[in-house]
C-alpha cells in the first residue's frame, strides 16, 4: 500500500512555527516558547494518514472498544457469519499476547491480522499503520479494529477509523458509562452486549445505561443485543450499512476520532446515523 505514497519511510520532522531564539531572549539567557499543540499531534498525523489510505481504498473502518471480555470477538464472529457473503471483512486484532483472536476471526471466514502489544494497554496509529501493510485494503469493504480490551486508554488514540463502537456487556453493570465518561463520550455507537444474560444478572437496566450515556451530552444510539440471538444484531448491521453508505455518498470524515481537536459536542456522525435508523435508547 505504501509503496505508492512513500510512507514506508519515516515521517518527516514536524514543521513548527518556532523560530530561533530572539536576541533579547538570548541576552536574558532564557526564553518561554508558546506551543499550544496537542500532546498527541504525532499520533493524530499518523491517524490522518491511515484514514487517507482507507478512504482511497473505499474501506469503511470501525474501531471496536470495550473492557476485556465484553464480547468484541464473539460479536465479530457473528457479524462475519451474517454479512460475510456480501461484505468483504477484514479485522485487525489488538491484544497484549496471543494470536487467539485472529485465529477465531479467520476461522469465521474473514481476513485477520493480529497485533500483540506486549505490555501496551492500547493501540496507536503507528501500530495500525504497520498492520495495514499486512492487509490488501482494495479487497475489503469493512475493516474492524478490535482494540485492546480496556475502557480507559484506547479512547485517547485516534487510529484513523471512521467511527467508534463501544461495547458494554450486561455482567459489567449499567453504571459503566458514568465511571468511564471519556470512553463513552468517544463512542459513535454504544452496544449493550450479552443481553441473553439480562434475566440472569437481574440488576442491569439497559435504560439506565442509556441514561448514563445521555448524561455525557451525546446523542449516539444505544443498542441492546446478544451475539447468541442473531435477530438482535439487525440494528448493528443496519448501523454498519448506514455508515458505509454515508462514507461512500459523502466521502466526508466521520467518527469522533476523525474530529479530534474539535470542541464540538453537537451532532456527530453517530448521532444522525442512529437517529435515521431509529435504534436509539433501546
Amino acid at each position: 500500500m505504501c509503496g505508492t505514497c512513500g510512507c514506508s519511510t519515516p515521517a518527516p520532522p514536524v514543521q513548527t512555527t518556532a523560530n530561533p531564539a530572539t536576541p533579547d531572549a538570548r541576552d536574558a539567557g532564557r526564553d518561554t516558547v508558546p506551543v499550544m499543540e496537542p500532546l498527541l499531534a504525532e499520533n493524530d498525523r499518523q491517524a490522518a494518514h491511515n484514514r487517507a489510505h482507507l478512504d482511497a481504498a473505499g474501506v469503511v473502518c470501525v474501531n471496536l472498544m470495550s473492557s476485556p471480555g465484553a464480547g468484541k470477538t464473539t460479536l465479530l464472529e457473528a457479524t462475519i457469519k451474517a454479512l460475510g457473503l456480501t461484505w468483504r471483512i477484514g479485522v485487525i486484532e489488538g491484544d497484549l499476547e496471543t494470536e487467539t483472536d485472529a485465529q477465531r476471526i479467520r476461522k469465521a471466514g474473514a481476513v485477520a491480522h493480529q497485533i500483540t502489544t506486549g505490555t501496551a494497554c492500547h493501540l496507536d496509529a503507528a501500530m495500525v499503520h504497520r498492520a495495514l501493510h499486512h492487509l490488501d485494503l482494495a479487497s475489503l469493504d469493512l475493516l474492524v479494529i478490535e482494540n485492546v480490551g480496556n475502557l480507559v486508554c484506547p479512547a485517547c488514540f485516534d487510529l484513523g477509523q471512521h467511527a467508534n463502537a463501544v461495547l458494554l456487556s450486561v455482567p459489567e453493570g449499567d453504571d459503566k458509562p458514568a465511571k468511564y465518561p471519556v470512553m463513552f463520550r468517544a463512542a459513535d455507537l454504544v452496544l449493550l452486549t450479552k443481553a441473553d444474560l439480562l434475566a440472569t444478572v437481574g440488576d442491569f437496566a439497559p435504560e439506565t445505561a442509556a441514561a448514563h450515556v445521555r448524561a455525557l451530552a451525546t446523542g449516539v444510539p444505544v443498542v441492546t443485543l446478544s451475539a447468541r440471538r442473531p435477530d438482535s444484531l439487525t440494528p448493528w448491521f443496519h448501523w454498519l450499512a448506514t455508515l458505509r453508505e454515508t462514507r461512500h455518498a459523502s466521502g466526508r470524515k466521520t467518527g469522533n476520532a476523525a474530529a479530534r481537536g474539535s470542541d464540538s459536542m453537537a451532532p456527530r456522525s453517530g448521532g444522525p446515523i442512529g437517529a435515521r435508523i431509529g435504534v436509539r435508547g433501546q
Partner: protein, 120 residues
C-alpha cells in the same frame, strides 16, 4: 496507564524545540490536561519525572493545568462548569451542548535556558 507513552511524545516534542532554539536545557514545561482527556495528571507527573532523566529536560519542572469541563448550551446560551459525568446543560437540561474546555491534552509552553551570546 498510557501516561508514559504520552510523556515520550511530550519529551520528544520539547527536545526538538530546544534543539531548534539552540537551548542549553529545557527548564519548565506547561501542559493542559482536561478531566475529559483520559489522562490522570498525577500519573503524567510521575511518568515525566522518570522519563525526563538523562535528556534535554533532565532538570525541567512540569506544570499541569486542569481546567474543569465547561459547556455552553446552544439552546439557552448558558455557560456552566459541569461534572465530567454530567455534561448536559444545568440550566435547561439540553443534552446537546458545546464543550468549551475540559477535554484538552495540550502542550502549552516550554521554558528554555539559553547560552548568552556576545552582541555581534
Amino acid at each position: 496507564m498510557h501516561e508514559l507513552t504520552l510523556c515520550r511524545h511530550l519529551l520528544a516534542r520539547v527536545t526538538r524545540l530546544a534543539r531548534e532554539r539552540e537551548a542549553r536545557a529545557v527548564t519548565h514545561v506547561t501542559v493542559e490536561v482536561g478531566p475529559l482527556s483520559g489522562v490522570v495528571p498525577e500519573l503524567l507527573a510521575q511518568a515525566f519525572h522518570v522519563a525526563k532523566r538523562g535528556g534535554a529536560a533532565d532538570t525541567a519542572t512540569l506544570a499541569i493545568e486542569t481546567p474543569p469541563p465547561t459547556v455552553r448550551c446552544p439552546q439557552c446560551g448558558a455557560e456552566n462548569v459541569v461534572s465530567p459525568t454530567r455534561l448536559t446543560c444545568p440550566a435547561c437540561g439540553a443534552c446537546r451542548v458545546d464543550l468549551l474546555r475540559g477535554d484538552g491534552l495540550i502542550l502549552k509552553s516550554v521554558d528554555l535556558s539559553l547560552d548568552a551570546r556576545p552582541p555581534s
